[in-house]
């Protein structure tokens, strides 16, 4: 292998990671303002009466929202703007990680990793805060739970945020009315958009906790400068 591939994170991964981080933070916080505009979630095509809601969402406090003072128009400005780097960034990283084999090499789980005993061992190691137990072949960079988490986020949470977001846009709907149908109607798509936003928030919170527990300075530097491959690491 050439020396240039010894970086732990590819340049494409690093660029996307930070663009995506900024996009997600602004989308999430402006999304909380949009949620405050009508705090009720429904299933089906229509819904406007709180009595029909399956969930009355809390009113998000001003420290959590963009902008801090309730302003739906400005929140929509941010949301509509950051949707572009978020969605195009996701498309970019999928193409990049398929092209540079990051997905197949590091993120795709192997059949033997799905054995109950292997999963139980992985969970035990995590609970002991031992994160340096990559797959049995030395080449695997991530352990099973990491692969699963990244796979779910890349393959389900983030794409579903894009698709459910498109589905609630009345101007996009005539281009793909089937999208709204398979999601169960516009209000269902809106509910799912909210659910995947909070699922992603949960992932980000866990991600940050695990980075803090596993050497935050080194991890963050690696996501900026690229870092070195684990197996060339002296520890």
């Amino acid at each position: 292998m050439a020396k240039s591939v010894k970086k732990r994170h590819a340049l494409s991964t690093r660029i996307w990671h930070w663009i995506n981080a900024v996009s997600l933070i602004i989308l999430f916080m402006s999304g909380l303002t949009i949620s405050n505009a009508h705090r009720y979630l429904y299933w089906g095509d229509y819904g406007f009466d709180p009595a029909d809601a399956w969930l009355a969402v809390m009113r998000f406090p001003s420290w959590a929202t963009i902008p801090s003072r309730y302003n739906l128009a400005e929140a929509r400005d941010w949301h509509i703007l950051m949707a572009w780097p978020f969605a195009l960034g996701l498309l970019f990283i999928w193409i990049a990680m398929l092209a540079n084999r990051h997905f197949v090499r590091d993120l795709l789980t192997r059949r033997k990793e799905w054995k109950a005993s292997a999963i139980a061992k992985d969970v035990r190691e995590h609970l002991k805060l031992n994160f340096r137990h990559a797959g049995e072949e030395g080449s695997a960079k991530y352990n099973f739970l990491q692969k699963l988490a990244y796979g779910v986020v890349y393959g389900i949470f983030l794409p579903m945020l894009v698709f459910t977001g498109l589905a609630i846009s009345p101007g996009f709907e005539p281009a793909a009315p089937w999208l709204v149908d398979i999601l169960g109607g516009r209000q269902s798509a809106r509910s799912l958009h909210f659910i995947f936003a909070f699922a992603t928030f949960g992932f980000v919170a866990l991600h940050i906790v695990l980075v803090l527990l596993s050497g935050p300075i080194k991890q963050t530097w690696a996501m900026i400068g690229g870092g070195r491959m684990e197996n060339s690491d002296e520890t």
Partner: protein
């Protein structure tokens, strides 16, 4: 740079700085560009005349929520409401060869379109109702819109926060087959709360784009000199809603 620093920076960006950034000309031109990209994407991905979904009668919501202006608080409007809008006139003017002044009978005598569509409010809720009225395209053809017209402006009898409500669309939406001047909701004359006697239906855009209590339709080349120049009541507001309400 540490992750903590980055996170603190991001949080600061999120809370205070976003508002500061949002007030700058650069941010505003970015916001406008993003809005234009969405509109361009929508119109590239779908046919310009592609229809918003239409529903079956049983899909209608049990009631149709009224929002924004729920009435017009003038003695003239109360008098019109009391006598069934017998003297209501819809003016068609501006860049047209044949200005029109239509009575409710004139409007009901035009070819009608009935459509059961979903109304999406900018706040997030939706209602489904059946609307009936003539297509705007037919009225514009009767008035012979001049080629230099780029937008259609809708004037309303209602005021909100002391300002006249108005809206505008471009010619793509003006000539869209589902763009109708509705005088009926669910088979009944339009209720007061939903814009009696006339409201626009611009089906591929959010609710604030569907002006109620309609009094005049004007063909213009630019809406720069109307209101505060942004093309609508909400658009004119400080940090107002997007002119393109299809997002």
């Amino acid at each position: 740079m540490k992750r903590r620093t980055l996170l603190a920076g991001a949080a600061a960006l999120g809370t205070g700085a976003c508002s500061k950034i949002a007030g700058t000309d650069t941010a505003n031109s970015l916001f406008e560009a993003a809005e234009d990209w969405h509109r361009a994407a929508h119109r590239t991905l779908a046919n310009r005349q592609a229809l918003a979904p239409e529903y079956a009668p049983e899909d209608r919501s049990p009631t149709f929520r009224s929002n924004g202006s729920k009435t017009v608080d003038t003695p003239e409007y109360r008098a019109e409401l009391a006598n069934g809008f017998a003297n209501w006139r819809l003016q068609v003017r501006g860049l047209v060869e044949q200005p029109l002044s239509l009575s409710m009978d004139d409007i009901r005598a035009l070819p009608q379109r009935t459509q059961i569509t979903r109304h999406d409010c900018v706040e997030g809720w939706s209602a489904i109702g059946e609307w009936t009225g003539p297509q705007l395209s037919g009225v514009l053809d009767a008035a012979k819109v001049k080629p230099e017209a780029n937008f259609i402006v809708f004037y309303c009898a209602d005021t909100l926060y002391g300002e006249d409500y108005y809206e505008s669309v471009d010619m793509v939406d003006a000539y869209h087959p589902q763009t109708i001047i509705a005088h009926q909701l669910n088979g009944e004359a339009l209720p007061e709360g939903n814009g009696a006697p006339l409201r626009m239906r611009i089906e591929r855009q959010l609710g604030y784009k569907h002006p109620k209590y309609l009094t005049a339709i004007e063909a213009v080349s630019s809406f720069e000199n109307i209101g505060k120049g942004m093309g609508g009541f909400w658009e004119d507001h400080p940090a107002g809603y997007q002119w393109y309400a299809g997002i």
